[in-house]
Symmetry: C2
């Protein structure tokens, strides 16, 4: 089974992971790639809307509920055991060119870490803990590292790095 | 690739398809089966909530967005061409015992038609149009047909019919 390439954006909180992810999705989509996005949510989330038919199906006990139209579909799943990232990639993202994710710090996905000099915090993937899956840093300042350091504010350069590393 | 068995509930509108579907899901889940539910929506639906991270990813251009927690996951997909039912069954429902769907009158899924005498309407799957995929009628009155006629108000009997026909 084909697994699409995946890259995860990691950072300490408050560094703008979601905003960078959004910009990268927009840029890579504009370049013609089909992009998947995966996000972990630590909280209980209610994505469906109370009273909708799909919500009623799930409440009645359906393990999987899909609602489908000519333009889109939505699938809600309940599980007792959180699936592994690779299981989710294989299950949901087989037809995309690349999956961008946020977080999953403990995973072995290739990682791009966001670093903001102004926040004065040490890196997550270098220093005390050396993460072998770090492939680049996106930073607002110049630092010397064993991996490429990209300009955090140059989305196009980060997108080009991702293209060259994972898509060509 | 394993396709789960699927049965669709068809009826003229206003006969209570969703309510019967809900009752059957509840009954079959209580009997220990894992049930999937699939529904077609003819309208534009907005299942996600404006401003949520997953909503932002989709708006940015992601073709597939999954949000995952320890208890559930939700996947939003955009498509230009509506996938065929069998593609959806294969994609989303591989791990369930049975998929219950609503509508899909023109499909070749096995069908149970709801009939209400009080509405005074002819059957969809018998009469002018003879649907070879009709497996039973759930009716509020006794009628003579070439397929089993089940009591619309006896959810347990309908569930048992489904179990015997598709699950054992």
């Amino acid at each position: 089974m084909r697994l699409p390439p995946a890259v995860t954006i990691v950072a300490r909180s408050g560094t703008g992971k979601t905003t960078l992810l959004e910009k990268l999705i927009r840029e890579l989509t504009a370049r013609g790639w089909t992009i998947g996005a995966l996000k972990h949510d630590a909280h209980k989330f209610e994505i469906d809307r109370e009273g909708k038919d799909s919500w009623r199906m799930t409440k009645a006990g359906a393990t999987v509920t899909t609602i489908n139209s000519s333009e889109q579909s939505a699938t809600m799943r309940r599980h007792d055991l959180e699936p592994k990232i690779k299981e989710i990639l294989e299950r949901d993202f087989r037809e995309v060119d690349l999956v961008l994710t946020e977080g999953f710090k403990a995973s072995d996905l290739p990682k791009i870490e966001i670093h903001r000099h102004t926040l004065g915090q040490p890196l997550l993937c270098r220093g005390e803990h050396h993460d072998p899956h770090l492939v680049a840093i996106a930073s607002d300042t110049k630092i010397n590292l064993d991996v490429p350091v990209l300009d955090l504010n140059a989305t196009d350069a980060i997108a080009t790095f991702i293209e060259r590393t994972f898509l060509k």
